[in-house]
């Protein structure tokens, strides 16, 4: 039993490590002092100030625009690609397949500078558009991997059955294939969205003046002086993320628990 206590203690310590900086940020969002150093008393004032900080709110808006747009586009392209690469053969398929692993394995900074180079070559103005293209560029392979996992374990005979019963290609795709691979699409889209929100490095190279995302805005603020309204915003973001994830996890936990007890 003592052994078990030690194991649980280790798990708890790892979680303390993982949550420590987040807890610090949340705690200081309620701090009365502007300097973010010593805790001087409880206040909500930074939350009020946050809603007047247009630079920060604009950055948040940009972050969300980029994340949503790039997630939708990369999920569509990635899902179609996963199906296409599984079902069809074509010249150069191996080549395309190996290209798709590159964004997953090479350091983000290399992808960032190589995209920056071609935007400059094509004389594209750096801004939200280049940011969205870049986020699509690093998300698609992850979506493909997620969808492919589901596709390769799928029973493709139902597609034949649908054809034999007279369904056309598009009808079969919409009514038979798509519903089967939804879990893969959902996990791919979630991953794409997460990666987009988390990205610092690629965004750093591919955005232009006036279209900062939240992390880039905070990056420059850390260097010039940061105010606790950033903590307030972070706290709100964490709250939203927690609520969404917990609801979905609890639903899944119930399912697993049911299966486990049977």
């Amino acid at each position: 039993m003592k052994n078990k206590t030690l194991k649980n203690l280790f798990i708890v310590l790892v979680f303390i490590f993982l949550y420590l900086p987040i807890i610090a940020l949340i705690a200081f969002s309620f701090n009365d002092s502007k300097l973010n150093i010593i805790f001087e008393g409880f206040t909500f004032k930074w939350y009020k100030i946050l809603f007047t900080n247009t630079t920060l709110l604009d950055a948040l808006k940009n972050t969300l625009i980029v994340a949503v747009t790039s997630t939708v586009i990369s999920t569509i392209i990635g899902t179609l690609a996963a199906i296409g690469l599984y079902k069809y053969d074509f010249k150069g398929k191996n080549f395309i397949n190996s290209l798709l692993y590159i964004p997953v394995v090479i350091p983000e900074i290399v992808l960032g500078i190589s995209l920056l180079s071609i935007y400059t070559l094509m004389r594209l103005d750096l801004g939200l558009i280049t940011l969205i293209i870049s986020h699509i560029a690093f998300s698609i392979p992850y979506v493909i991997i997620c969808v492919r996992t589901v596709i390769s374990s799928m029973n493709w005979q139902i597609e034949e059955a649908a054809h034999d019963l007279g369904a056309g290609d598009f009808l079969t795709f919409r009514k038979i294939i798509l519903p089967e691979i939804v879990p893969g699409i959902v996990s791919g889209a979630t991953l794409a969205f997460t990666l987009s929100l988390d990205d610092v490095i690629i965004s750093y190279f591919t955005t232009g003046p006036g279209s900062n995302t939240l992390p880039l805005q905070i990056y420059s603020m850390i260097k010039t002086g940061i105010t606790p309204d950033v903590n307030a915003l972070t706290t709100l973001i964490i709250l939203v993320v927690m609520i969404i994830l917990f609801t979905s996890t609890i639903v899944q936990m119930r399912k697993i628990k049911k299966g486990y007890q049977v």
Binding site: F17, I76, A81, L85, P107, E108, Y142, T194, V200, I237
Partner: protein, 282 residues
């Protein structure tokens, strides 16, 4: 088979792979053999000087620092993630699901924001020093950051989930019956661990190590913010060549070098029986 459907499925991905992956990499390979005009421009004169320059002692030191810090971070992540994954995999399935989700939540708040959280904790007037001083354990604040320790803490923290996920995936796939069999045959716990459990998770371990080591040497913002700009990693060097000294050809040569290192590691991973699809760890 319907040709339209094939076209709709494949045309976007082929265009994407060629324009946003293949072409940019070929282009920086091309730039890496050109000459810089020192004003941020590129003179189209072929040279291999950029590759020779990599071996300048100043830059070799950056590679050496990056490799050492990267290795320490990878080792620290492994030493935390391995026991953690084993202990978690011993829990009931629904608890496992909850714990792994808890690992992922910090990941959903941007890594730069969490780095800022570490600044709040580690700096001279930060939470750690304030607590230690008020407990009279120390008289003068300790330097937790603006040095290599800060970089080490920041990178280990940021990359830990990338180590936990692949290792947990491979640990949770171990057939419990094999472990029971080893025990029934009289194997001691330590032997079971090193001869049964560890070998069956080799690909997970190597996967996690690649996903930790490679990002570690490229994450310039952590070295910037927590290292105080004293120690340069390869990522900082490349960033500076592109945005500060504006020597794109040399920056490109450094990037190509980094790509080659990455590919060698991935080849090794495949040789050890790892699957490319698992490399994301998700």
């Amino acid at each position: 088979m319907n040709r339209n459907l094939k076209f709709i499925c494949l045309a976007p991905v082929v265009i994407y792979a060629l324009i946003l992956i293949f072409f940019p990499l070929i282009y920086i390979l091309f730039i890496s053999f050109q000459t810089s005009d020192n004003y941020g421009g590129i003179i189209y004169v072929f040279t291999i000087y950029n590759y020779i320059r990599i071996f300048d002692p100043v830059y070799l030191k950056v590679f050496f620092n990056s490799a050492i810090i990267g290795l320490f971070v990878t080792l620290a992540c492994l030493l935390i993630a391995y026991p953690f994954s084993i202990f978690v995999s011993e829990k009931k399935p629904h608890i496992q699901k909850l714990l792994i989700t808890l690992v992922l939540i910090p990941f959903l708040t941007n890594s730069l924001i969490r780095t800022y959280g570490w600044i709040v904790l580690l700096r001279k007037e930060g939470i750690f020093n304030t607590i230690l001083e008020s407990l009279s354990i120390i008289d003068n604040p300790l330097s937790f950051m603006y040095n290599n320790l800060g970089i080490f803490i920041g990178l280990t923290y940021t990359l830990l989930p990338f180590m936990i996920l692949p290792i947990y995936n491979s640990v949770s796939k171990i057939d419990k019956k094999v472990i029971e069999a080893a025990r029934d045959l009289g194997a001691k716990p330590l032997n079971i661990f090193f001869k049964v459990i560890v070998p069956s998770t080799y690909s997970g371990i190597f996967n996690g190590c690649i996903m930790t080591f490679i990002p570690a040497i490229g994450m310039f913002f952590i070295a910037d913010l927590l290292g105080g700009g004293k120690t340069m990693l390869i990522g900082n060097l490349i960033k500076n060549q592109f945005l500060v000294s504006r020597n794109w050809p040399f920056g490109s040569a450094l990037s190509i070098f980094l790509i080659i290192v990455t590919f060698l590691l991935v080849r090794l991973y495949k040789k050890l029986g790892g699957k490319l699809d698992d490399l994301g760890g998700f």
